[in-house]
């Protein structure tokens, strides 16, 4: 009755009996996270590191086999860094900057991501999703050892959830029995198929794309360079489009677009997969097949992410096509956004309505991701004859003329969204301030002393002063912002000035715990800062 739905790459949280299973009345928890995927575990880390007790329930005993996500963006690594496991990911991951685009085997052009200088983390790494998840779980174990109140319960399947107004009742099945607990807050991180959504009768609308993709992760000792290769209409006909991308451990991701009307079982037979791979790689390349799968995808999101005491995050809340690597990456931004808000609400330092700003901000993020990934998908798999004609016209032109290259869309890689014009934003009152650090934007990294700026921001509210005075700390209605002061001497590269001052001489930024800019000014003004801090905590 509790059979695995998938096999495991790493068994990290084997079933253990919990005292809750023998309690007379359901035990009450501040936060229960449903789903121990990357988003659920990251949520637990965020809350647990704040000292908030959190229980994660997952219906398996570890991380699923098969890589799924391979591309992790700088922002996800910066968030992981805040949780204390970003470096490990980069060390294991493959850093890449070069991409090549082919059409019918001719190289159309190549591009370099040309990552900006002066960031602690690279623009992207390729890393198998199970590793990404394992680094998060390893960090949970380390945090637990240091006293973080996190619990992960494997083989605990959630079967029913009921919002009782002042709490949420949860029915759980384990290999031994069934039991109940209650929670003040429930985070739904149970993936794209989200049983929780179904239990609450909630919608999940959007667009289904009529195409299937066959993925094969293969291990080969070939000397393909560490680049992203994308073919439109390759003549080897192994797929209508094909992607080749390197992962750690000599593993390569090959992704074939194979059409809508396919016999999944037939296509997944090893001999048939090998036919495609051989057509693409040529007869002389030997390889082992590590993992294969066929997927179709949707671009859609829930109408609302917050439903009273139940809050959705990650794939449960929104799904995008894989082009652009926006799935797990956007889920990490959900966690980053939700963690501090829920923390303040639970500690009684902010009104519950602060959680509505999660709904507002992350829906904004999801819409941006869906828009981008839908556009990529329409370019890669044109839906009409004329769309196909234009697509190929772009490719033909791009081969000869630089002007057409920006129109080629084989996936616009994930960047964090700016919360322009949303409710928590305070004044943008820095004359001459750069647009990239405007209110609502995520803070860009820059060298600071012999380290970097970002690790000094976040976790709590920060008053970032550049060539400006301010008190070391300021508390408004229970919420404290502490100062990080930067002087010209510590900004040897001048990149902090470039990214945060622009044409201004000095600046004072109020930075949120998720490293987004809440407000900025030319100089410190206590009343203005207090008002912005209130606003950023949903107190207006």
């Amino acid at each position: 009755m509790l059979d695995d739905r998938y096999s495991l790459a790493f068994k990290l949280y084997p079933y253990e009996r919990s005292a809750d299973q023998d309690a007379e009345t359901p035990v009450r928890h501040p936060v229960v996270v449903i789903g121990g995927g990357p988003i659920g575990v990251a949520t637990a880390l965020d809350l647990g590191l704040q000292g908030i007790p959190v229980v994660v329930l997952d219906d398996h005993e570890g991380i699923g086999m098969g890589s799924r996500a391979i591309c992790f963006a700088k922002r996800s690594l910066e968030i992981a860094d805040r949780y204390g496991c970003g470096q490990e990911m980069v060390e294991k991951g493959v850093v890449w900057n070069l991409g090549k685009v082919f059409h019918e085997d001719r190289k159309v052009f190549e591009f370099n991501l040309l990552p900006e200088e002066g960031h602690q983390y690279p623009a992207f790494i390729n890393l198998q999703q199970p590793y990404f998840e394992r680094f998060l779980v390893d960090r949970v174990r380390e945090a637990q050892a240091q006293g973080a109140p996190i619990e992960i319960r494997g083989k605990n399947r959630v079967d029913a959830v009921e919002d009782k107004g002042d709490r949420v009742a949860i029915d759980i099945t384990t290999p031994e029995d069934s039991y109940k607990i209650t929670a003040d807050w429930v985070i739904g991180a149970d993936g794209a198929g989200s049983p929780l959504r179904g239990m609450l009768g909630l919608d999940f609308e959007g667009r289904v794309f009529e195409d299937s993709f066959l993925i094969a992760d293969i291990r080969m000792h070939a000397d393909f360079p560490t680049e992203r290769w994308f073919w439109f209409e390759p003549t080897h006909k192994a797929g209508a489009s094909t992607l080749l991308h390197k992962q750690p451990d000599d593993v390569w991701r090959v992704d074939f677009q194979i059409g809508w009307d396919v016999d999944r079982k037939e296509e997944l037979k090893e001999e048939n997969i090998r036919k495609r791979l051989d057509a693409m790689l040529g007869p002389d390349v030997s390889y082992d097949i590590v993992w294969t799968s066929i997927y179709t995808f949707q671009c859609r999101r829930m109408k609302d992410f917050r439903h009273g005491r139940v809050i959705f995050a990650g794939d449960a809340a929104h799904q995008v096509s894989p082009f652009g690597a926006r799935g797990a990456n956007s889920g990490m931004q959900d966690v980053d956004n939700l963690g501090w808000k829920l923390g303040l609400v639970i500690e009684g330092k902010a009104p519950e309505s602060l959680l509505d700003s999660y709904d507002e901000e992350r829906k904004h993020g999801a819409d941006e991701n869906i828009l981008n990934s839908t556009r990529s998908t329409d370019f890669i798999t044109p839906k009409s004859k004329i769309s196909h004609t234009f697509r190929n016209a772009v490719l033909d032109l791009a081969e000869q003329y630089a002007f057409a290259r920006p129109l080629v869309n084989s996936g616009r890689l994930s960047v964090p969204c700016v919360y322009d014009g949303l409710s928590l934003n305070g004044p943008d009152a820095l004359n001459g301030g750069p647009a990239r650090t405007r209110v609502g934007a995520p803070c860009p990294d820059a060298p600071l002393g012999d380290g970097f700026l970002l690790p000094k921001l976040g976790g709590g509210f920060t008053i970032l002063t550049i060539n400006a005075e301010a008190p070391e700390a300021l508390t408004e209605d229970g919420v404290t912002a502490t100062r990080v002061a930067v002087s010209a001497a510590e900004d040897a590269t001048g990149l902090i000035a470039e990214r945060y001052l622009g044409d201004a001489e000095a600046a004072v930024y109020l930075v949120r715990p998720d490293q987004h800019v809440a407000a900025r000014w030319d100089a410190y003004d206590e009343q203005a800062l207090r008002a912005a801090l209130r606003k950023a905590c949903g107190k207006e």
Binding site: I386, T389, F390, N392, A393, V394, D396, L397, F403, A404, L407
Partner: protein, 65 residues
């Protein structure tokens, strides 16, 4: 409110028109469609201005049916 020029602007209209038709001579319908697509993209890049391009799209959509 855009600066889309809807007044005559091509110096030698007959010559340009003949050249346009000539470019399609001997092409199949698919090849013609592809040529048109490339031409539109080249011209659009020359214009560059999104407001003008949007106005041109609108102007093209509103006549002819």
């Amino acid at each position: 409110m855009s600066d889309l020029n809807l007044d005559p602007n091509i110096a030698d209209p007959d010559g340009f028109y003949a050249k346009l038709i000539e470019a399609h001579e001997g092409l199949s319908d698919d090849e013609s469609a592809a040529l048109n697509a490339r031409l539109i993209l080249l011209l659009a890049n020359q214009v560059g201005d999104r407001a003008v391009l949007d106005a041109a799209l609108e102007a093209a959509k509103t006549v002819g049916h």
